[in-house]
């Protein structure tokens, strides 16, 4: 099976082509540059490099967030439209889960997270079991301090993975002390091929119903609901 994986859910841009689970080609950048101008050239170049035509594709896997709203939408719209035009199965994978796959061999709990600004994060808690990831705590948008409180209560060693690790490292160490573990820097970004690993074939969706997983309301919507609640 020829699979195309796309991730543009945070600063990292990743495209991978896999044949029966094996990486044929992979492209990753970790730059402060927009995805809009760079995603399609990356896909086109990589496909050309490995000598695939669009007709060779058999499945598309895409990171559906949470992360940067615009980034998620660029990746998801590209993936959905490709899948629709080529009549391919498509699967949206949580970007948190995809990041957790960087530590699939960890014997410890894994807490992958993305910065959601104002000291909030998108995160979840996983453990590795027979080469698969199992959810220990649901994916959520939460204040880092609150999240750390929950983790302290577990009193276990936890491996943290994040492209924004440096922003929160001190805070995590202060809360968890020796239970806080960190990987070398290169493990802190999503490898696009891992989207394929993180995919669960039963999660294949109808192309029209696959939508981003923002884990957060649009700001105007949140304010509107708050006001409405206050008035009632």
């Amino acid at each position: 099976m020829n699979l195309l994986a796309i991730n543009t859910s945070d600063q990292v841009l990743g495209v991978a082509l896999l044949k029966n689970g094996q990486i044929i080609g992979q492209y990753t950048t970790n730059l402060r540059k927009g995805h809009a101008t760079r995603l399609m050239p990356a896909i086109v170049d990589l496909m050309e490099e490995v000598n695939w035509t669009p007709q060779d594709l058999e499945k598309i896997v895409v990171a559906k967030g949470p992360g940067s709203y615009t980034g998620v939408r660029i990746g998801l719209t590209t993936a959905k439209t490709l899948a629709w035009a080529l009549k391919l199965p498509i699967e949206g994978v949580s970007s948190i889960r995809a990041l957790a796959y960087q530590a699939i061999f960890s014997p410890y709990l894994i807490s992958p997270f993305f910065d959601a600004r104002r000291e909030r994060i998108y995160t979840g808690l996983f453990k590795s079991s027979d080469g698969h990831l199992v959810h220990v705590k649901d994916e959520q948008n939460i204040a880092m301090s609150k999240w750390l409180e929950k983790l302290v209560a577990l009193n276990e060693k936890i491996l943290f993975l994040s492209p924004s690790i440096s922003l929160y490292k001190e805070m995590i160490e202060e809360a968890l002390g020796r239970n806080a573990l960190f990987a070398s820097e290169s493990y802190n970004i999503i490898q696009p091929a891992h989207l394929a690993l993180a995919s669960i074939p039963e999660n294949e969706t109808n192309v029209h119903t696959l939508i981003p997983n923002y884990l957060r309301l649009a700001e105007a919507e949140a304010k509107w609901r708050e006001q409405k609640g206050a008035n009632e």
């Binding site: 660029i74 719209t77 509107w224």
Partner: protein, 336 residues
């Protein structure tokens, strides 16, 4: 006989997710528009983030519908045209991402289209152009007079120096506590009122064709404020009629003057505010006995749609214009 040119158009620059298929730039085969107006109403205006969220959810559904309605296959499609700008950047990027994916998947040329060129070319779905041609573009985001000496050739004669006409309508509607979007409500109220209040007309430099509506907007605001202070009754119908009369006067007069100066064959009106009944009547009346032809598209072609993008894209395609894979959204793209 030359082969038919069939273009798929995509438009997501504001709050409509749209896809359409147009033959030879003149025949509409399908025109699908998913409007989000209801989602934005409670906020009193378009919320960019919410618009973008809707676009992602609607895009492939709208595309599928466009193909079903047109009853054509991918083999029939020559190129994919998409709005490149101006517009909301996050919203534009959804349409652009979709267009690139289609162009790559089906190995078709990709063509970025200017949203205003689209509004102009909506008219060609009704009537073939004859040049030179003057276009008055009036919408929520634009008030412009554009001279065309040939297809794809745009010369900006004048534009608004502050608010677009549609913006002025929305702001005055808010002052009168009318629901969003305000334009149609003002138009309806004005029909039942008399232009009894002397609001200013911003003629600006007589030799230029620029517009300004900020002075008018403040005049309406002051009038309402003063009337309230003096506890005078405010007849909303008359305020709407007087405001609208000022807007219409300036538009009609400047368009008329430019049409004479450039000796045009046609005057076409484009953009959402072209749906305004008052403006349509005033233009028809003023131009009734002139030698140039006045074209105002039907309502469904005045508001944002993708057929207009496909129609403008057809000319770009025929003229050999192609966009690259790194095309970006341009929120304030100039019309060239």
């Amino acid at each position: 006989m030359t082969k038919d040119v069939m273009i798929l158009g995509i438009e997501t620059s504001c709050d409509e997710t749209a896809a359409a298929i147009v033959k030879n730039g003149r025949t509409l085969l399908s025109n699908v528009v998913a409007s989000q107006i209801e989602s934005h109403q409670r906020f009193g205006g378009v919320v960019p983030e919410i618009a973008s969220r809707h676009h992602v959810e609607q895009m492939t559904i709208v595309l599928e519908e466009a193909f079903e309605q047109a009853d054509v296959t991918w083999d029939d499609i020559d190129a994919i045209a998409v709005t490149e700008g101006p517009g909301l950047v996050g919203a534009l990027l959804v349409g652009i991402s979709a267009a690139k994916a289609l162009a790559f998947a089906k190995q078709k040329p990709l063509i970025g289209v200017h949203h205003i060129a689209g509004h102009i070319y909506a008219n060609r779905l009704q009537q073939e152009f004859s040049f030179p041609l003057l276009s008055l573009i009036v919408s929520g985001g634009h008030t412009e007079l554009v001279l065309m000496r040939g297809h794809g050739d745009y010369e900006l004669l004048g534009e608004t120096l502050d608010d677009a006409a549609g913006e002025a309508f929305d702001k005055v509607a808010r002052m009168l506590k009318l629901p969003y979007p305000g334009g149609p409500h003002i138009d309806q109220l004005a029909e039942h009122g008399q232009p009894t209040i002397e609001f200013p007309r911003a003629w600006l430099d007589k030799d230029r064709y620029d517009f300004s509506f900020s002075g008018l907007k403040s005049a309406v605001n002051n009038y309402l404020h003063n009337a309230k202070q003096r506890e005078e009754e405010i007849i909303k119908e008359d305020v709407a009629a007087s405001f609208q009369a000022s807007v219409i006067d300036v538009h009609v007069e400047k368009t008329y003057r430019a049409a004479l100066q450039y000796d045009v064959q046609q005057v076409i009106v484009a953009g959402g505010v072209a749906a305004n009944q008052g403006l349509r009547f005033a233009l028809e009346e003023k131009f009734a006995h002139e030698k140039f032809q006045l074209l105002i598209p039907p309502l469904y072609l005045c508001t944002d749609n993708a057929a207009m993008i496909a129609a403008a894209g057809t000319i770009a395609y025929e003229q050999g214009y192609r966009s690259a894979w790194d095309m970006n959204a341009h929120p304030s793209l100039p019309l060239r």
